[in-house]
């Protein structure tokens, strides 16, 4: 996905750009509202991540001003308590909001939800042997059969599909799958891997256990 991040704190902006980059997203950074306008004039974005407090004005005012010109979905990054801010932000045309500091898995989930709602989620097909995996739709097509995958199955399969032939450790997969406030044992990963193996049965793709190291998907 291509993001425009409007955030005045340079350090935070840098790390968000870097972090989203790790997931394969392209991010442009604007430090002010006028900077953001300039970016929007020359480029198209899938999503705008908009901070509320900016040096040249309030992000929500910007939103109210430019809602009829800019059709890009907006997720507001707020530092305020939801109770006072959320209503205002959504009323003024934000598609969703997320409170700083945010979990990037949650941010991604919210981005997908917004794009799905707006019908702006690009088709993104990954061929896995005889099957086609669509992470954005959450489906795995194999011949005439279409399997619905659950959220965690999608995320797990996505990691494997993007790193074919690589050994992925259980702890790497756990960071990908579970939020950090959940207490789960490494056995939980085995459950999800087991499910994916069943769904990939007959597709010609295997998830192997590498003893003592983790898992590897081989095409």
């Amino acid at each position: 996905m291509r993001f425009l991040l409007v955030e005045d704190n340079a350090e935070l902006a840098d790390s968000v750009v870097q972090r989203l980059g790790l997931d394969g997203h392209a991010v442009d950074h604007a430090a002010t509202l006028s900077d953001a306008e300039a970016h929007l004039e020359v480029a198209d974005y899938d999503l705008i991540l908009l901070d509320v407090m900016l040096p040249d004005g309030d992000g929500r005012d910007f939103l109210a001003r430019s809602r009829d010109r800019i059709n890009t979905p907006v997720i507001v990054l707020t530092a305020r308590s939801q109770i006072s801010d959320r209503v205002g932000a959504l009323d003024q045309g934000a598609d969703d909001y997320i409170t700083k500091p945010f979990d990037f898995s949650e941010l991604e989930a919210r981005c997908r939800a917004v794009l799905r709602r707006r019908g702006g989620l690009a088709r993104n097909e990954i061929t896995l042997g005889a099957a086609v995996f669509e992470p954005n739709a959450g489906t795995l097509r194999h011949g005439d059969a279409v399997m619905e995958l659950r959220n965690r199955e999608i995320r797990l399969l996505e990691v494997f599909a993007r790193n074919p032939g690589h050994i992925l450790s259980k702890s790497q997969l756990m960071d990908r799958l579970f939020s950090h406030d959940e207490d789960v044992t490494e056995n939980a990963i085995e459950v999800y891997v087991g499910r994916l193996r069943r769904k990939l049965d007959g597709v010609g793709v295997r998830i192997e256990t590498v003893r003592g190291a983790g898992y590897r998907m081989s095409l």
Binding site: N9, E11, L12, S15, V16, Q18, R19, L22, M53, A79, R80, S81, Q82, I83, S84, D85, R86, V87, D96, T99, K100, P101, F102, D103, F104, S105, E106, A109, R110, R112, A113, R150, N151, R152, S171, D175, S179, H180, D181, E182, D183
Partner: protein, 456 residues
């Protein structure tokens, strides 16, 4: 905040005016009574004097003898006043010529009648004496005519007049009190109108009062307007302060969290990863605490002066569910809604916040791939939003303890939370006259938290 009311102005003024009117009525009644008594007495005196004089007129000397004819007219005149008894005595010096010998009149000088009120035969009589000098045998003989009458009639007339005056005074008193009560109410009306105008405003309506009023109220209006001005300023300042504080705290937290996530991707060693996970958890912990403290402050602030608007609960529940669905999806938790119409009156933001806290809890404590059910309904004068999950439930701890500030249930090992969530929900509900009910989810075995509000 309640203020003990003092004496109402209206009652005070009315009582004050009534006391004045009562005093006036009493004085005028007393004056009328004394005038009546005096006038009746004077009338009696005049008639007595006229009768005595006409009796004296009939005195004449005949051959050295003093003769007297009692004129009937003299007595009939006295009878005109009332049925009082009449006594008379005609005497020359100490020799009684005719009449009641024991009737003793007032001392008298020739020419002028003299009056006295005297006791006579156990009665109170008004007596008059006139003296006439008759020549008998060339000798001047002073003759005293004394005439007395009991006072019953006179007193009757005076009492009658006094009674009339009393009735009139009471009537005037009642009329005056009624009119002053009306006048007091009419003059206090602008004050009441102003009070009503201020008290029916919403909590955030701090516009100055613009109504016209009597000049006496203008200092109050100006003082109120200044107060509202200051209040608006201080609310704005505290909101700005909270926003600024939140921004200052959360931005560094966001930087730390993001850097930790990036590091987690690049480090290989499990021990280092574990450290970074701990950092992230600590950041999440403090972030959640900050949110809940801010929410808590906001709830207390809004609950003090509660907005009253119609709130459609199914729509509200749907909005809250939509906002938290992405969070739930991370754990493959479904949020299922079962709605029937329900409306309450209150502050939508507070109710929304209460539900968000309860739903957030339910998602947090639910195992992956379960269902959190929200049902909205109406019954028995109460609207109810029930949130049930398939988590561990509340354990054995008494339900009342869970809503105390910073308390957490005994089954929450390893879940980030500061324990304010249910407290906030409880506070938001009780501000509306509602409550939080903690129970067991009978279907899935988890917890069931119900938000109960008086139905609109």
């Amino acid at each position: 905040m309640s203020v003990q009311p003092g004496w109402p102005i209206a009652r005070k003024l009315t009582l004050f005016l009534a006391a004045i009117v009562a005093l006036l009525a009493l004085v005028s009644w007393g004056m009328v009574t004394s005038f009546a008594r005096e006038a009746a007495g004077r009338t009696q005196d005049n008639i007595l004097a006229a009768s005595a004089t006409s009796i004296a007129e009939t005195l004449r000397s005949e051959g050295g003898q003093v003769r007297l004819e009692l004129p009937y007219a003299a007595f009939s005149m006295l009878g005109a006043i009332s049925e009082d008894r009449v006594f008379y005595r005609v005497a020359a010096g100490d020799d009684v010529l005719t009449g009641y010998a024991d009737l003793d009149g007032p001392n008298v000088t020739p020419g002028e009648p003299s009056f006295a009120t005297l006791p006579y035969r156990d009665m109170n009589v008004r007596a008059v004496s006139v003296m006439r000098v008759i020549l008998a045998d060339g000798e001047a003989v002073p003759i005293t005519v004394t005439l007395a009458q009991t006072r019953g009639g006179v007193q009757g007339i005076a009492a009658g007049l006094s009674r009339q005056a009393a009735y009139l005074s009471v009537a005037v008193f009642l009329l005056a009190v009624g009119m002053s009560a009306f006048a007091v109410r009419a003059s206090l009306r602008p004050l009441n109108t102003m009070a009503q105008h201020v008290s029916t405003r919403g909590p955030s309506d701090l516009r100055p009062l613009r109504r016209r009023g009597p000049p006496e109220l203008m200092p109050l209006v100006r003082a109120l307007n200044r107060l509202m001005d200051r209040l608006e300023g201080s609310i704005k300042r505290s909101e700005d302060f909270i926003a600024e504080a939140a921004h200052r705290v959360r931005t560094p937290l966001a930087i730390v969290r993001t850097q930790a996530e990036i590091a987690l991707h690049s480090v290989e060693e499990e021990a280092q990863k574990q450290t970074l996970r701990r950092v992230i958890r600590a950041v999440d912990d403090s972030s959640r605490s900050a949110s809940q403290l801010l929410d808590h402050a906001m709830v207390s602030f809004r609950a003090d002066d509660l907005a009253r608007e119609r709130v459609n609960l199914p729509a509200l529940a749907e909005g809250v569910a939509d906002a938290l669905r992405p969070t739930a999806e991370m754990k493959d938790i479904d949020i299922a809604l079962a709605m029937s119409p329900a409306e309450v009156e209150g502050d939508a933001i507070l109710i929304q916040n209460a539900l968000r806290n309860v739903l957030d809890n339910a998602i947090k404590y639910s195992p992956a791939e379960t269902i959190v059910r929200i049902s909205v309904g109406n019954g028995g004068g109460e609207a109810r939003i029930a949130v049930s999950d398939e988590g561990p439930g509340f354990g054995e701890e008494p339900a009342a303890h869970l809503t105390e500030r910073f308390k957490r249930g005994d089954k929450v090992e390893g879940v980030v939370g500061s324990g304010l969530g249910l407290t906030i929900a409880e506070e938001a509900l009780s501000a509306h006259g509602g409550r939080l009910e903690l129970g067991r989810n009978l279907e899935g075995g988890g917890a069931c938290v119900s938000l109960i509000l008086p139905a609109a």
